[in-house]
């Protein structure tokens, strides 16, 4: 399998602290790759670098053969690499449907010039978009909430909304930041099924940060373990589980690890 995403010796520091310190790994096309590690290992910082929210101090990030570490977030998203946020950033004061309708690339109605010069194309695009949004709402089971403000959804429902919104963009690579955090056990199963089905049916690649190791072992075929800004182990679930460096990293910070991650 070819690498869809290549992380090459990425470094990012804040005021002298190297949050990410030369991390390097690859995400194969069509795979589900999990990124794990104790809190403060640099996972979220690395995510932010990949998604373009932060600019790495050194190293390269290559997505589908193209360097993206100097691109702004919105350009990366348009290229097909889309992220979710740890605390599902549903736009609380917009309706669920509007949340989904936002996720569209190249919508002529989203430009003033498009509205003026191509009103018909804008309307057609909007119609198609609404249809697709309804389909995805059906898929994730939120159709009854279409006109509710997203702020009224439960934590788990927001994660589903977040996932559906990402899917609207028809991405090739999805970064999920702790998709299982704050999700009820019933919805967890549902979410996992969605992710597996999406990979199977649409060939979407996933890179997932997750603390729920059961989920990681079930879903991922590759696990990358980070500690103190570096990748300390990577491979299939079985080999990583037996890796001494991984055991040390987790035991050494076990007390911290039990705490929920700060936002």
């Amino acid at each position: 399998m070819t690498a869809l995403l290549e992380i090459q010796q990425v470094v990012k520091s804040f005021g002298g602290v190297r949050a990410v310190d030369g991390a390097a790994f690859e995400v194969a096309a069509g795979s589900i790759t999990a990124l794990i590690g104790p809190n403060g290992a640099g996972k979220s910082t690395l995510f932010n670098c990949v998604a373009g929210s932060l600019r790495p101090d050194a190293g390269r990030i290559v997505f589908a053969g193209r360097r993206i570490d100097r691109l702004p977030t919105h350009r990366i998203a348009r290229a097909g690499l889309v992220r979710t946020f740890q605390s599902a950033r549903a736009l609380a004061r917009m309706t669920v449907l509007d949340n989904l309708l936002l996720a569209s690339i190249g919508h002529p109605g989203e430009r003033l010039s498009g509205l003026l010069l191509r009103p018909r194309a804008a309307r057609a695009h909007e119609r198609a978009l609404r249809e697709r949004a309804r389909e995805l709402l059906d898929l994730v089971g939120l159709q009854a909430h279409a006109d509710a403000y997203a702020g009224t959804l439960s934590g788990g429902q927001r994660k589903l909304l977040d996932l559906a919104r990402v899917l609207m963009l028809e991405p090739t690579l999805v970064l999920l930041d702790e998709p299982m955090a704050g999700v009820s056990p019933r919805l967890r199963v549902e979410l996992l099924d969605h992710i597996l089905a999406l990979r199977r049916e649409r060939g979407i690649t996933f890179l997932i940060i997750e603390h729920d190791l059961d989920f990681v072992m079930q879903a991922a075929e590759k696990i990358v373990v980070m500690n103190e800004g570096r990748v300390i182990a990577q491979g299939d679930p079985a080999s990583v589980q037996g890796d001494q460096a991984v055991v040390d990293a987790y035991l050494g910070t076990a007390a911290v690890h039990e705490q929920p991650a700060p936002a």
Binding site: F14, G15, V17, T45, L54
Partner: protein
Amino acid sequence: MFSQLVVNGLVTGSVYAIAAVGVSLVYGILRLVNFAYGDMMAFGALVAYGCNGPLHQSMVVAALAGMAATALLALALDVALWKPLRARRAGFMSLFLASIGLALVLRQALLLAAGPQPEAYRVDPYRVFVIGSVRLSEAQTIAVATAAAAIVVVALFLARTTAGRVLRAMADDRTLAAVAGIDVARATRLAWAISGLLAGLAGVLAGLVEYSFTPDFGFQLLLPVFAAVVLGGIGSAYGALAGGLALGLAEELSTWSGFAGGVDPVYKPVVAFVLLALALLLRPQGLFGRARVA
């Protein structure tokens, strides 16, 4: 000419510096950009005028009265306005807008109480000290000496006393400070009291330096003071001191003919704004501030 400008710059700059520390302390702790600060300064200046003029008190007594009154005003406003807003978890926009409303109320109340005519303290405008090529009026001398003393006191307070360290710790990280067992409510009152004292002092000194002032002169002072705070790195008390002095110097020196012929003095306030804009664009964390850890 140049040394005169430097001295003038230090005089203006020390007034800015004192006010900037007052703004910065409250910002550091409450995340409040206090738009009413200029009018609190004017309040202090007017109370002092009342003592100095009609009541014939000495300038020192008058200044102390102005400072005390402004501190009381600041504490009263905290109870009446800011505390309820904090209880509602009001964000930056609410606080800023509330301070704008408050500024309007304060300014107009001062105009109502004192009238629109300019007032001046009882100092001799013609008494001038000459040191080498530099001339200083009596008012300027009082202002710069008091300001220098006040700056030293404030710096020592922040560096050496427990209360000062608490305030700086809270400005650095509120939640951490609360976890570390700091009495946040008490520290907030302390910050308001000191901010009020400094507002009163800065107001009196500004009144002295400008010789005559009207009850609404606070607003003209406010923007350069904000500029000084931002220049120093918003929330950093030492930065505010340095920012105030730097801004005062820059305003005066910009008119120096050796500097590209000098800027027309009417544009002195614009110099402050341009510096503010430049500083923000080049170093968004402030000239003396540290980069924020994400």
